[in-house]
């Protein structure tokens, strides 16, 4: 079976600013096979696909090393256009469709069939008239191929989300020279029956000799539909295996498999955590956060524990944190220490005593052009009226109190800066994160929610942040909820870890549960985790 490969990527390495994200990875796909590309977030799947597609981001950052062979010939793909001309198609996760166009127009976008007219003879090809009947016939053919039974003249805007994926696919297979199709997490936004139909369509396309690279986190789909797979982990090739030779459990192990290093020593742990003393209680909690939808969860967080929320990107873990803070539309009940929190009112969670460090540090978390001092005191000033001098008719900010507090915080958290008036934007990522933490702590919260606290900061700073969280928890007894996509981090710090998959809690686990169990839970594998 080692016959000819339609795509052969060999020894691919790629560095972003000295940070090696791919190391000697290879990917081989045979014609007409469905090949899964597996790995956690950050394993290097997107980078590999960006290289294959010749995305500008690759070439703007110094290119890559290794060879790419397409259809037997060595190629050097430098632009998406070139990739398309070679016959590589991509079905995007975010739909690249125009809502105001009909299905036909979307399928034929940029490749309209035209007829010459008098004007076109004078002014050139762009004045040629559209041949709508021929376009419709082509669109019909593509739609029939994947078994989508909709009229080709309806507007895309009125169609259900599930159909849009199919129209994207129809657009790709309508390209006459298509040889390789990349599906980037196509089932993430589909319902179960739609996903099944999509898998059927993939089988049909593959049977026509078009190779498919299928990027997904759902193990059951991989088992059901693929012929072979490549597993990546931390930018390294783990293995290329035939699907029939493997099982869901072993795939999960390959994806996660990595030693958990304890970032903390357990010596100072003298906490008493009682199961019936709840700090936070979520019941039937829904959050409508775009891309991170939470679909009804029940969650209990005990007083004094560090609770982790993990899961892959887009599954809803960020939605939980942002929903509690009232940043997105929610429903269901949230109780903090026995008091109901009104998530419909922005700021209520802060008032009731929940501190929050956002995952979007530079966007939501900080006022980048403002001083460290303003950043730290801002929330407390707004929410609690701290740091103010009351003049009777109006209240003024008291720089003396603010500066004193800021200096204390800078010292306590070891924020490396030139002084309290340095703009927050000028700090390094780790120090910015500390400023965010300082602000949350200024509110004296009962519960601290930190969302992706270590994203985008270097290893040393990561350790400091983790230690800081542990210190807060151990010494001040603060309850902490930590949302992170780095499982390793959660497992090193948390007492319990909830894994979120598809907007629901897949499992609540202990940090020392096995890799396979975590892997299966994260993939939302329905085959049963034994």
């Amino acid at each position: 079976m080692s016959a000819q490969y339609v795509l052969k990527m060999d020894g691919i390495s790629k560095e972003y600013f000295g940070n090696r994200v791919l190391n000697n990875v290879s990917l081989d796909v045979r014609p007409g096979e469905i090949h899964a590309l597996m790995g956690e977030n950050g394993a290097g799947k997107s980078t590999l696909m960006n290289i294959l597609f010749g995305m500008p981001v690759i070439h703007n950052t110094g290119g890559f090393t290794g060879t790419v062979e397409f259809d037997g010939n060595p190629v050097n793909i430098t632009s998406p256009q070139q990739a398309m001309e070679l016959g590589i198609g991509m079905v995007h996760q975010e739909f690249m469709l125009i809502p105001g166009f009909t299905v036909t127009e979307n399928i034929k976008v940029g490749r309209e069939i035209t007829k010459p007219t008098i004007a076109s003879r004078i002014f050139g090809k762009s004045m040629e008239r559209l041949d709508r009947p021929a376009m419709r016939a082509d669109a019909r053919k593509a739609l029939d191929t994947i078994g989508l039974n909709i009229e080709d003249y309806v507007m895309v805007s009125g169609l259900p989300v599930g159909y849009m994926q199919f129209i994207e696919i129809a657009r790709e297979i309508d390209k006459s020279n298509i040889k390789l199709l990349i599906f980037d997490e196509p089932t993430a936004v589909l319902t179960e029956s739609e996903a099944d139909r999509l898998l059927d369509a993939m089988r049909v396309i593959a049977s026509k000799g078009i190779a498919i690279i299928f990027i997904t986190h759902r193990l059951d789909e991989v088992i059901a539909v693929t012929d072979s797979m490549t597993v990546l982990r931390d930018g390294q090739l783990v293995k290329r295996v035939e699907t029939k030779d493997t099982t869901a459990v072993s795939i999960a192990e390959m994806m996660i498999g990595r030693k958990v290093e304890k970032l903390l020593d357990e010596a100072s742990d003298n906490r008493v955590i009682k199961d019936d003393d709840l700090m936070l209680k979520l019941r039937d909690f829904h959050v409508d956060m775009p891309g991170e939808v939470v679909k009804g969860i029940d969650l209990d967080v005990r007083r004094g524990e560090i609770f982790g929320i993990g899961g892959l990107a887009g599954q809803g873990k960020l939605g939980i944190a942002n929903g509690i803070m009232g940043l997105y539309k929610t429903s269901g009940s949230v109780e903090l220490d026995g008091v109901a929190v009104d998530t419909k009112e922005l700021g209520d969670a802060l008032k009731k005593g929940i501190g929050f460090v956002s995952e979007d540090r530079r966007g939501v978390g900080l006022l980048l052009d403002e001083s460290i001092e303003s950043n730290i005191v801002f929330s407390a000033m707004q929410i609690k009226g701290d740091f103010l001098t009351n003049l009777g008719i109006t209240k003024l900010y008291s720089p003396r109190k603010g500066k004193k507090h800021t200096d204390e915080m800078i010292k306590a958290l070891d924020i490396r800066c030139t002084g309290h008036d340095q703009p927050a934007g000028a700090l390094s990522g780790g120090n910015q994160q500390k400023v965010c933490l300082a602000r949350a702590l200024t509110l004296n919260p009962k519960l601290l929610i930190v969302s992706e606290p270590t994203r985008g900061i270097d290893i040393g700073a990561k350790k400091l942040v983790i230690e800081l969280l542990a210190k807060l928890n151990r010494e001040q007894g603060m309850t902490v909820i930590m949302v992170s996509s780095e499982l390793n981090e959660l497992r090193s710090l948390c007492d319990r870890i909830a894994v979120v998959a598809e907007g629901k809690i897949a499992a609540i686990m202990k940090p020392d549960d096995s890799d396979a169990q975590f892997g299966l839970a994260m993939a939302g594998y329905k085959g049963g985790a034994e």
Binding site: N41, G42, S46, P80, Q81, M84, Q93, E94, F95, M96, L97, I98, P99, G100, F101, E105, V109, G110, R111, E112, T114, T117, I118, A119, S120, K125, S126, M127, E128, R129, L130, V161, A188, V189, H286, V287, D288, P290, G291, E292, V293, K295, G296, A313, G314, L318, K329, T330, S331, G332, K344, E359, D360, S485
Partner: protein, 506 residues
């Protein structure tokens, strides 16, 4: 026959419910219709006066309003930059007047000068808009003021100092700067409006014949004679039409340059009836097309008959008889409508629509977004220049420093009133909008002075209406496009977001 009747009734019912829905969907238009009707009832002047006035203004303004449609489709929003096109037209008119060309020749020279200038300016504006994507409207507005400054510099200073111009009729007494008003009477005034119908028909015949001959030649060269009979038939048809114009009665009718509205309606009604009858006969009897639905043509015929019958009501007849249409101007407007529609059916037009809907998708589909936008701007600026020429030749005097100043705002107001929005505009919006806006424009000062007995109030009203219209229309459009999900906390738990924002992890 009975089957036909029930079909017809159902068809009418469908159309009525469709109508009710579209009234709700077009709140903006509907509001202005109500305002116009109220205004028309309270002018205190005979209806003929307002109707005549509106028809004149329609001929004058519609072309420039239609020039706004292409940029909206290409996603550039309402193009306040057409002021630049108007300036190009005015520079061309100044040249023509100065060099002393008159009549059709002068007009063609004006167009020949204005076209390259406006294309160049349109190119520059397009380049600018490409650098300010997303804020084209405010850029265009400010650009208009900036261009006005340059324009004044040219006309007040450069002409006379750098370009010596000696013409006491045009130049301020000191020899520097152009006079405040330029009289177009005797050179360009009414040159388009006064082209006789006979010339138009002759010209049309000539063009059609030429096209057919070219096509024949192409076919002979390519040795593809499948459509030769068609082309030959066409040429014979053109010759026949041309021959008809020699019949004295028809020749007399056609030799005028204005068409009475009554005649126009009559021609239109009979034309429509004959066309529909022909369609029915052709589809049913010759092609035996079973799928052909007869209700629609029948409805058109009935509507046409009703319209014709209405013209016999004395009150309406009186109004209609008082209106004369400048034929050539209206023909040009119709041609521009056809041009806009045809353009949208070309590859270029489809590219423009794609760019207008989503620049990301257009880019991914290999469309050169910037180039498409620049082409749209060049076309729009050129058409605006032509529109300004039509406008000025109809007005007859040319206020050197003021003629262009409001043209962007007025044209955009008209388009908005017609139901267009920043993202969607059609020919029908432009035409309806011009009618409504200018009715309001004519009627509001009259009504105000009639109701309040003070002519000054009338003038305030006019200004108030112009700017109020833009604000109200924009506000109503914004209101219309407000998200429907306003129900506080209800989360649609099973509702995945329509277009997920790319995962925060990426």
């Amino acid at each position: 026959m009975k089957n036909n009747e029930t079909n017809l009734i159902r068809y009418c019912g469908d159309q009525l419910s469709h109508f009710a829905k579209s009234v709700y969907g077009n709140k903006v238009v509907f509001m202005f219709v109500v305002l116009c009707i109220f205004g028309l009832c309270t002018t205190g002047k005979p209806l003929e006066y307002t109707v005549t006035e509106v028809f004149t203004r329609f001929g004058r303004n519609t072309f420039i309003v239609l020039s706004l449609i292409i940029p909206v489709i290409a996603g550039l929003g309402l193009n306040f930059g057409i002021v630049v096109g108007a300036m190009a037209a005015q520079i061309a008119i100044f040249c023509t007047v100065y060099w002393g060309f008159t009549g059709i020749g002068g007009l063609l020279l004006t167009v020949a000068i204005a076209t390259p200038i406006s294309l160049l300016l349109g190119f520059l504006v397009g380049r600018l808009y490409n650098k300010t994507k997303g804020t084209e409207m405010i850029t265009g507005l400010i650009l208009g003021y900036f261009a006005d400054g340059l324009y004044q510099f040219l006309f007040l200073f450069l002409i006379g100092v750098v370009f010596p111009v000696e013409n006491p009729r045009l130049i301020i007494d000191g020899g520097v700067g152009v006079k405040n008003t330029i009289d177009l009477a005797g050179n360009l005034k009414y040159t388009i409006d006064t082209i006789s119908m006979l010339s138009i028909v002759e010209l049309a015949c000539l063009i059609v014949a030429l096209v057919l001959v070219v096509r024949l030649v192409v076919h002979f060269v390519k040795k593809d004679d499948s459509s030769v009979p068609k082309a030959v038939g066409g040429i014979i048809g053109v010759a026949a039409v041309y021959a008809i114009t020699y019949i004295p009665a028809i020749e007399r009718f056609l030799s005028t340059d204005r068409l009475r509205l009554l005649d126009a309606i009559t021609i239109y009604v009979f034309g429509a009836i004959i066309l529909q009858l022909f369609r029915i006969i052709y589809e049913k009897l010759i092609k035996k097309n079973g799928e052909f639905v007869i209700t629609r043509p029948l409805a058109v015929i009935i509507a046409a008959v009703i319209i014709y019958a209405l013209t016999f009501i004395p009150a309406i007849e009186k109004v209609i008889l008082s209106v004369n249409i400048p034929v050539m101007t209206y023909v040009l407007i119709a041609l521009l409508c056809v041009f806009n529609t045809t353009l949208l059916n070309t590859k270029l037009g489809q590219n423009m629509r794609t760019v207008g809907q989503s620049r990301t998708v257009a880019n991914a589909a290999g469309i050169n977004v910037n180039k498409t936008r620049i082409i749209a701007m060049m076309l729009s600026t050129m058409l605006a220049a032509w529109g300004q020429i039509i406008y000025l030749q109809n007005i007859g005097t040319f206020s050197t420093y003021g003629a262009h100043s409001m043209c962007g705002q007025y044209a955009i107001a008209a388009l908005l009133v017609g139901g267009a929005s920043v993202k969607d505009a059609k020919n029908s919006h432009a035409i309806l909008g011009v009618i409504l806006f200018h009715t309001l424009f004519v009627v509001s000062p009259l009504s105000a002075s009639h109701l309040f007995g003070n002519s000054m109030i009338g003038e305030y009203f006019r200004v108030f209406v112009c700017y109020g219209v833009i604000a109200v229309a924009l506000a109503m459009h914004a209101w219309k496009t407000l998200p429907r999900k306003k129900d506080g906390g209800e989360v649609l738990s099973d509702n995945t977001p329509e277009i997920p924002v790319s995962g925060a992890e990426n």
